[in-house]
Assembly symmetry: D2
Homo-oligomer: 259 residues x 4
């Protein structure tokens, strides 16, 4: 009950088999550890740096897979939307609509998500301060939708790096429950090559710090075979490492709860 | 002929009278100084930090005013688009479609703009390196549209400030003609208050440096009454200062051309 | 034995009475919590931003007070040095010589500290990467002194702010035991006014994150009356808050040790 | 008379022959272009990132070479100092004492330089705002020495890069004549390897921008064989390129003077 919650799954829905396989594994772990769980998967990838990057298997096909995951394992699901018209469409299939970090300043998109009545997960822009997320949250609540989450995925530091500013967690918790995205916040955009790198060996470091400072949720992209995943392979956690990671985080959470 | 070109106008189209008044003034100056001129005006403001900010007078109404400016003064026009569906709509009224900095990683939007056959002006994301703009340009040219511009509007420096990295100008000129936005690059987002400030007294400094390093164009938001403008008043140049600014830039340009 | 250690005390030695009073209080707490403790105090402040800032009570006078604290409470002491000639002088009175962040690239100073045979505490420059501290450590070990500590005090983020990059902790632990300075890393240099501000309410946040990611030690500047301290009042922890802070950190440390 | 002045020479004094050879070449160019010239050379390099880097040929030997350059070509000279005791020593041989960027917050050092009565050239710390240089200048003028220069050498941007913030030039000119160091401001510290890289092809870009925004002086490290120089080879300008660079800058300066 006082545990953190988890948003986790693959970067993109590549197909039904992989989605169900990943969900099954995570559901098993989170049930055991009593972690409330929301399955995550993108139905399309709209903001690739290169035009030849993987963008998806088809919108409706991917959304139906998200629905199937939800029904099969009785878990809520989250996906990200990129245009106003995505909001109503995705809302038919998922429980949480996520606004990507690059798009969180797009008022029309945030309002469209809010008006579906679904939970809205606002990713903090890499170019935004924690304080400025207050205005993004207000855009949702002004639509009479009080179900808002904020997710931190790091802040731009020079052209090729990002840092998580942990001072932002208590700041943003004043506005809405706050999630730490421990995989994207380790991205290191190699902007010349157009392929993003990362430091997955640091996932445990960033996640432990997040739990210690009181995040409400953890966001993790994970795959049973990150190297062969169709997007963001450099940042995803190998699924075989998830149980140990979450077990450690639960232990720290229990200690922090008791302080 | 070897002069720089100018994209200039108000932040937002607030009405026909103000648009024509601003255009007339700038056309007079640019004709005298032999500066190729493109009238700029946003038909809506979609990425305000606060939901109570001004967003526009109506899309079609504003676009028709842009068309009227074009016909009245025989100048091309530029406006920014925020969703895929904006591209075809705006292309009926203007000559240049501009992709806002926050949205330049949205492949669908860039492709939609490119497919109209209009000139596409890609603003460098505040979170992007000059090198990474190569990929954005390629998304346009891969659609068989070779009319691309890049516009630099500064790079995030801490939460509350932006810096123009002039090393980026020669770098981006390798990919496409490169414009320097001398008003937005001086923004200082006061992210707590949700109202962006600026340092308009520095416009001349940044513009001179841009011309000295060889920018192909200059982008300026300007208004006859910046303090009462409905958006971005803190950054716009007072229209009464434009002629002196451009005269100085032309002088530097001529010197640089002769080196 | 597996607990973290603590470097703590006032920013500057303002006099004997205040030094003994602060030391007595901290010794009481750290004995109870079984935290190895090193008393910290600067014998002069050489890098003030303004010439009218407090610089000290006299070098030898302050160093003798450090010695007296050490003898009275049987604890080691640490002070920072700013010139080559400080090294041998300070080494007569204290156990750990600290190289300030601004000076950690000064080879002569680091070598002079190393050659005293004392423990050398190298503060990471606000302008340096965690990786680059390897070279600073090597300068000490090349003098046949293997007693080196690294202390992180945050990294410059824009002109007015600093961020702690927690990825740096595991990185720097590869080179030497690594300490987190939880008070200076919250500084916000108001560089126009020349007086540094801070966010002391965030000390617990930063400290908990540090313990969660495995720092070997914690560095805290503390005073019974921060507002009336002669330097760095804006960042020091009120001494009355220290016991609760350390008690919480010990609890997290025990959990992390058991993972 | 209204031209900019030049501080230029090799990074380090490697010997008499190379110093005289470089000085002769630059004196010839600056006489022709009517640029007031100050010969620059370091008598030791105290802030190397690695202990095995070149540090100098001997303090007095190098200072005597600076003196000889001054007498041979009737030009003033500048060198950088790192400790209080360097100030009086170097003042016997040179006309301008330079405070390195890392050390500009060291009050004792700045005061020692000021008290020699020589011109003091304060390099802006890579971690400092332009505004904050006001306090450094005041430390000199409070010693009744009004001969102060400020030199910008870029501002840290992420761990591996620096940017010149040209807004800083008019800001710092309010405090003292302001110089732009066009070679060090292009450094890219590869902090893992401990060897600093650079982008010498950008020297002309940065220098032109500096002249366009009104810098009072230009600082250039130059060598007839940068690749074989004993320090900072990656950033120095090849001496054979100096005349063309300065000729271009003089042309822009004349235009700017006339605006």
């Amino acid at each position: 009950s006082k545990n953190f919650f988890l948003l986790a799954g693959p970067c993109a829905i590549e197909g039904e088999e992989m989605a169900l396989r990943i969900a099954e594994k995570i559901v098993g772990i989170t049930n055991k550890l009593e972690i409330p769980y929301i399955f995550k998967g993108s139905f399309k990838k709209a903001n690739r740096s290169r035009i030849d990057s993987f963008t998806g298997i088809g919108d409706e096909k991917a959304l139906k897979i998200l629905k199937k995951v939800s029904e099969t394992f009785d878990v809520p699901t989250v996906t990200d939307i990129h245009e106003v018209s995505d909001a109503a469409m995705a809302a038919q299939f998922v429980d949480v609509l996520q606004i990507p970090a690059f798009l969180v300043r797009q008022t029309d998109l945030v309002v469209a998500a809010a008006e579906t009545g679904k939970v809205v997960n606002l990713k903090k822009g890499q170019f935004m301060s924690p304080e400025s997320m207050k205005h993004a949250v207000t855009k949702v609540t002004d639509c009479n939708n009080n179900q808002v989450l904020i997710t931190d995925r790091g802040t731009m530091f020079g052209y090729q790096d990002m840092i998580v500013d942990f001072r932002g967690i208590p700041t943003m918790k004043q506005f809405a429950p706050t999630v730490l995205d421990v995989t994207h916040s380790l991205q290191q955009p190699n902007q010349s090559a157009g392929v993003t790198g990362g430091r997955p060996e640091m996932i445990s470091t960033i996640a432990r710090a997040g739990i210690a400072v009181g995040v409400d949720g953890i966001f993790i992209e994970t795959h049973f075979d990150p190297k062969n995943a169709k997007s963001d392979g450099a940042n995803m956690l190998d699924l075989s490492l998830l149980e140990k990671l979450l077990t450690d985080l639960v232990a720290i959470r229990k200690t922090v709860n008791a302080l």
